[in-house]
Symmetry: C2
Subunit: 332 residues, 2 copies
Amino acid sequence: MKKVFKWAANVVMTVFLMGCPLGVWSQHKEVCIALHGGAGNISKEEITEAEQKAYCEKMEEALKAGHQVLTKGGSSVEAVETAIRVLEDSPLFNAGKGAVYTADGTIELDASVMCGKSLKAGAVAGVTNIRNPISAAVRVMTQTAHVMLIGKGAEAFAAAQKLDTVSQEYFYTEKRWQQYLNRKEKGEIITDDKQVVFGTVGVVAMDMEGNLAAGTSTGGMSYKKHGRVGDSPIIGAGTYADNRYGAVSCTGHGEFFIRNVVAYDIIALKAYKGWPVQKAARYVINDKLKKLNAEGGVICIDNKGRITAAFNTSAMFRGYINKKGEMKTEIF
Amino acid sequence: MKKVFKWAANVVMTVFLMGCPLGVWSQHKEVCIALHGGAGNISKEEITEAEQKAYCEKMEEALKAGHQVLTKGGSSVEAVETAIRVLEDSPLFNAGKGAVYTADGTIELDASVMCGKSLKAGAVAGVTNIRNPISAAVRVMTQTAHVMLIGKGAEAFAAAQKLDTVSQEYFYTEKRWQQYLNRKEKGEIITDDKQVVFGTVGVVAMDMEGNLAAGTSTGGMSYKKHGRVGDSPIIGAGTYADNRYGAVSCTGHGEFFIRNVVAYDIIALKAYKGWPVQKAARYVINDKLKKLNAEGGVICIDNKGRITAAFNTSAMFRGYINKKGEMKTEIF
């Protein structure tokens, strides 16, 4: 009997020792990531199959890039930055390359990031020459005592950090320029234009340590007034992350998202009412904002790594790789 | 007996009919207003009695100006704007005239306002030539579809609205310039400097209709990085108002106030946990922020017109005129 016990103890110890370096016993080895590429009212007929395929492929590329960071043991903040850079570098989305034009025919970009472990955050707004605003937001968070830098000050900081700077021509895309010219002819801001709302990008992620992060990047509202800032760079409105509750990134009609502090509101409903993040997200987007005719959506990961997408428009570009490693991208 | 009854009925009817036009029967004839002029760690020995008197007199002037708007039937937004303009025009406070200098030796101002009835809001950040940033924030709220305008775009808008514009020299005060030169010699940001935190101004008010409003205005952190924005112009962080719950204006170490979405957090605790605003404000300031070594304070008016001030520093310039018309100003 003693021999059997000793043998069993040895087996248990061997499995334990082999498992440790592989992270088998770690509480949070599972990682996950989710993203959105903007929400808007667009029907299946208004976007060709080839276009749908292009959007989904780019979202998959971003998801895989972020997921790889996570599976290699990188932080959720690094994963968020990596995935958003892929979307910023694509002309498909209204962030970085492919951003929409202001009423003055210029490009002004906003981005923010938040770390759910430290509750630290970084943001830039109204920047015109930073290739990847999300990286500038990360540097504000990690390299300064501040949360938000705007305009020329943010650009000087990004240059000092040796981030890629580009001319306004870099951001040019034929599609956005034609949208701008069309709108200029009409001479007004059309906030319900499909192409206006579509495009802000955001990523939420959970890393091996169970740490959450959220990030958002945008070119803002098409034909916006010079200097207009939406919810994307506003911590609490467009972006929020807290390890105890969840991580949230928003997209939609920014002014309503600011007034309703949407990202933090979802967190507060979980923190103070004990609602699951999924219920909170659906309530805020499909009830509270819907009643205000405020269009948009959110993606969330809660403190258990459960992924939620909620939107009150007909479509939201979105995708995820869940804890099981399953990948999915959707538009409608 | 019948005659006596008839006589009594006539008296009651006469009083009722006389009272109506005077608003005697209106549910919300009572008005109130509260303000802060910044919070910081300063002892009674560090500020002369003459200085204390000057601060209190200016706060009284602002309170009376805002209160007069309210008693004449003006809106809470008008009262907030009026009172903050008095503080912005005074060299005593770190807002408008008297603002602190950035590390570059320039002045960059931020302000925001929110209407608790409509949940509309307005904000400007990083503006350099607008005499009264709070008025620009009000115009953003009432004259545009946007919430936030920054930098040159905000300045162009203010000029188009015919708001007073001034040169940077207008903002010069000997005290602030000497603070700047001293700090420049040391070559660093000193966030715990008494004179750094002191000075942001904010006002909350309830008008005859029972509508709440909140506003905040600041020169930001002394010797801040060019382009740095704190919580004052961030809806949810530095300012929030919702008729159903309360109105809040914050002052303190802005980065912590942004990360903790302080103004909206107080509202959320009332909305989702049913806490009185006073309990919520004290919890957020004296417990949550205190644990993070985050210094600052808030003033609030709840949906019943009850006034609260909470601060975790040794002092906060503050004052109120309550529903009974009683005025009080305090520092320690």
